[in-house]
């Protein structure tokens, strides 16, 4: 497990630690090699933040408080995962925040306006979300424009479409209540239910979050597709030269973000029954921040899937911890920023120390 997931351009990562002692590189101590992993910095940061709030905010020690923090983390974390994979693949997506709302609006309006079982809306929303990802990826690959521009465009388009179409169809800027429609209860069970663990109500999104993280980790470290992601993020030209399907990889990564947006969108719809069309703006930066804190480079080619899990946890922990600690709310955002910068700096320092020869 000490093997580093290096950008594998010319060869996939070696299957075991045996290859490291070929005499050309000096064997470094285990602790240092552990520290050099992208997710260790954020893990330490998350632990530090957790301990900090356990001490300063007694309410955090309660099990149900932790469930609440994990819930907040999971709604960020489910999106931070595909966003992180996309960043490892060398791109990022500014439309991810409003895409969540687009998905929720689509599902709600399809089901309501056509008086269909809500699952029809859920499926249509999935198709729409994947199509948005496909469009982002296709445009990016076809034009060679930076993802900043492409997804900034989609971000603005979706923001406008969310508002205008909702207003056009429902004559309101929020969707109608679908909670009494067929299939709602089943869908709520899948996307927005909670279950009891020793008297503590845990949200199902927490489970989905961890399941998705496990799948993403496996894909990234153990499959060919995982290698392709590192390769296209590391050096696209060389990746293509050694036969990595760059176009497929990039487009599918954008579609994966679409899938995440769909999932979180469904959670929001089935947990709040209606959706306001203006929501979601600014969330894309939180997803990207969670991925970056989780050790994904903005330049691509490095990162992990477990890092963003801790990144999202740290976000949820700080955001709720401030409230649990009962601090002056005027400072809310400033606290958040300071804690996050602190975490990133710790992350950076740990990485530098660990990788120094």
């Amino acid at each position: 497990m000490t093997q580093q997931a290096e950008p594998a351009v010319t060869s996939p990562p070696a299957p075991g630690p045996g290859k490291e002692s070929d005499g050309r590189t000096q064997q470094r101590p285990l602790a240092l090699r552990l520290l050099a992993r992208p997710e260790v910095g954020v893990f330490l940061g998350a632990v530090a933040v957790l301990i900090f709030f356990l001490i300063t905010a007694p309410a955090v020690r309660d099990g149900s408080s932790m469930a609440n923090i994990l819930y907040q983390s999971s709604t960020i974390g489910i999106m931070a995962l595909p966003v992180a994979l996309l960043m490892i693949g060398g791109e990022f997506d500014l439309s991810a925040g409003v895409a969540v709302i687009t998905s929720a609006l689509t599902a709600s309006m399809t089901a309501y306006q056509l008086s269909m079982n809500v699952w029809v809306g859920v499926i249509v929303a999935l198709i729409v979300s994947l199509a948005i990802g496909l469009f982002n990826g296709w445009l990016l690959v076809k034009t060679g424009l930076p993802s900043f521009l492409v997804t900034l465009g989609t971000f603005l388009i979706l923001q406008g479409v969310n508002l205008a179409v909702t207003k056009l169809i429902t004559d309101n800027v929020a969707t109608d209540d679908i909670s009494n429609m067929d299939g709602f209860d089943q869908a709520k069970a899948v996307f927005a239910s909670s279950f009891d663990v020793g008297g503590v109500q845990v949200k199902v999104t927490v489970v989905w979050w961890l399941v998705f993280a496990a799948i993403a980790t496996w894909v990234l470290l153990r499959t060919k597709y995982g290698n392709w992601i590192f390769a296209v993020g590391g050096n696209q030209g060389s990746a293509r030269a050694v036969g990595v399907p760059v176009t497929f990889t990039k487009i599918s990564l954008f579609m994966l973000v679409g899938f995440g947006a769909w999932f979180v969108g469904m959670h929001q719809l089935f947990s709040f029954n209606t959706v306001q069309s203006g929501e979601g703006v600014g969330q894309e930066l939180i997803y990207i921040a969670a991925a970056v804190i989780g050790g994904c480079l903005l330049t691509g080619g490095a990162g992990s899937a477990i890092g963003p899990v801790f990144g999202a946890f740290m976000f949820g922990m700080v955001q709720q911890g401030i409230v649990y600690a009962g601090w002056n709310p005027d400072w809310f955002k400033a606290f958040l920023g300071v804690m996050l910068l602190g975490a990133v700096l710790i992350n950076l320092w740990v990485q530098r120390t660990a990788t120094r020869r």
Binding site: Y112, S115, D182
Partner: protein, 338 residues
């Protein structure tokens, strides 16, 4: 035959998809809720004036997708249709941009301008330009203490502080001891004034809580967190209908005994008041604000009237909506106009 083979291979999935879609449409309709179950009913209409066509601009600080402002706009649209007025609606939460939009209206030589004064200083210059161009300007919604200083003709809205004070008194009547005032947009003056108003009259403790209004899951868990840290909180005061509905869920989840009160209505909120999930709402009648702003400009142009005599604001709130009167308001809220 061979020639057609590739084509039929492409055709098959398409036929399958079309068939699936048809089956889906036929078999998956919902037996309850949805558009089909929606009650019919036309929006309010009061005939149409035969006065000459005039153009009025309504420039607000609405941020995108806010249910409250949608209701203001609907009121304005109905008044415009009735008065034979062409309504130009524009909005920008950024004060500088809002001022530019007013300038745009002046350039179009409109017959009247209605504006909100969320940031009065930024609007000072354009208001005097409009007056210099001979265009009457009225204010609505925000700026109850500033509209006269800027030389506006009339004002329609509620005093946010007064509304907050009214809510604070109501909390006293309900025997509340500790309240939390949930601000969904950090730094919004109107919202701060509401909470400050509550603080002024409420005899118990009140604390402000900032939440991230663009992310509902975050709003929910933040309020849940607050309720868990402090079990003495017996009232959550929300400053917008969607946030009140979320606050009610937080109360449920945290196992707190707190009740929820709110400012402003929407069609789900009246249902929640009926069910008892939310105790009461302070209504500033946004529909009326939009309606009166446009109608007053028509009255001024055609009959020289001004409401409030140019001295006093025309207050549209605070009116309380609770279990006792929700039945009459609910049917209007269902149409999205209350």
């Amino acid at each position: 035959m061979d020639r057609y083979y590739p084509r039929s291979r492409k055709l098959a999935p398409m036929v399958a998809m079309a068939a699936a879609a048809a089956l889906t449409l036929a078999g998956c309709s919902s037996s309850s809720g949805g558009k089909q179950a929606e009650e019919g009913g036309e929006n309010a209409s009061a005939g149409k004036a035969t006065t000459p066509r005039m153009t009025v601009a309504l420039v607000t600080h609405q941020s995108a997708g806010d249910t409250f402002w949608d209701i203001v706009r609907k009121g304005a649209e109905v008044a415009a249709a009735k008065d034979n007025v062409k309504l130009i609606y524009s909005n920008d939460p950024n004060a500088g941009n809002q001022a530019n939009l007013v300038q745009n209206a002046i350039d179009q030589k409109v017959d009247g301008i209605a504006i909100t004064l969320a940031k009065p200083d930024a609007m000072k210059d354009v208001v005097s330009k409009a007056k210099a161009a001979g265009i009457p300007v009225v204010g609505l919604n925000s700026g109850v203490s500033e509209w006269q200083k800027l030389g506006l003709m009339e004002f329609f809205g509620q005093d946010e502080t007064v509304a907050g004070e009214a809510l604070g008194k109501r909390l006293n009547e309900a025997g509340a001891k500790k309240a939390v005032c949930v601000i969904q947009e950090q730094g919004n003056i109107g919202l701060e004034q509401r909470c400050a108003g509550v603080k002024k009259t409420f005899e118990g403790d009140v604390e402000n809580l900032n939440v991230n209004g663009t992310d509902m899951p975050s709003v929910k868990s933040t309020i849940t967190a607050k309720l868990k840290t402090d079990s003495d909180i017996d009232y959550v005061v929300a400053l917008g209908a969607p946030y009140a509905l979320t606050a009610a869920q937080s109360v449920d989840e945290s196992g707190s005994k707190a009740k929820v009160a709110t400012f402003d209505l929407n069609n789900q909120l009246t249902g929640a008041i009926k069910k008892g999930d939310i105790e009461f709402a302070v209504d500033q009648q946004p529909y009326l604000q939009g309606y009166l702003a446009i109608d007053s400009l028509w009255l001024y142009k055609n009959n020289g009237n001004y409401m409030g005599g140019g001295e006093a604001p025309v207050l549209t709130g605070p009116a309380f909506v609770d279990k006792t009167n929700v039945e009459t308001i609910d049917k209007f809220a269902a149409k999205g106009t209350r």
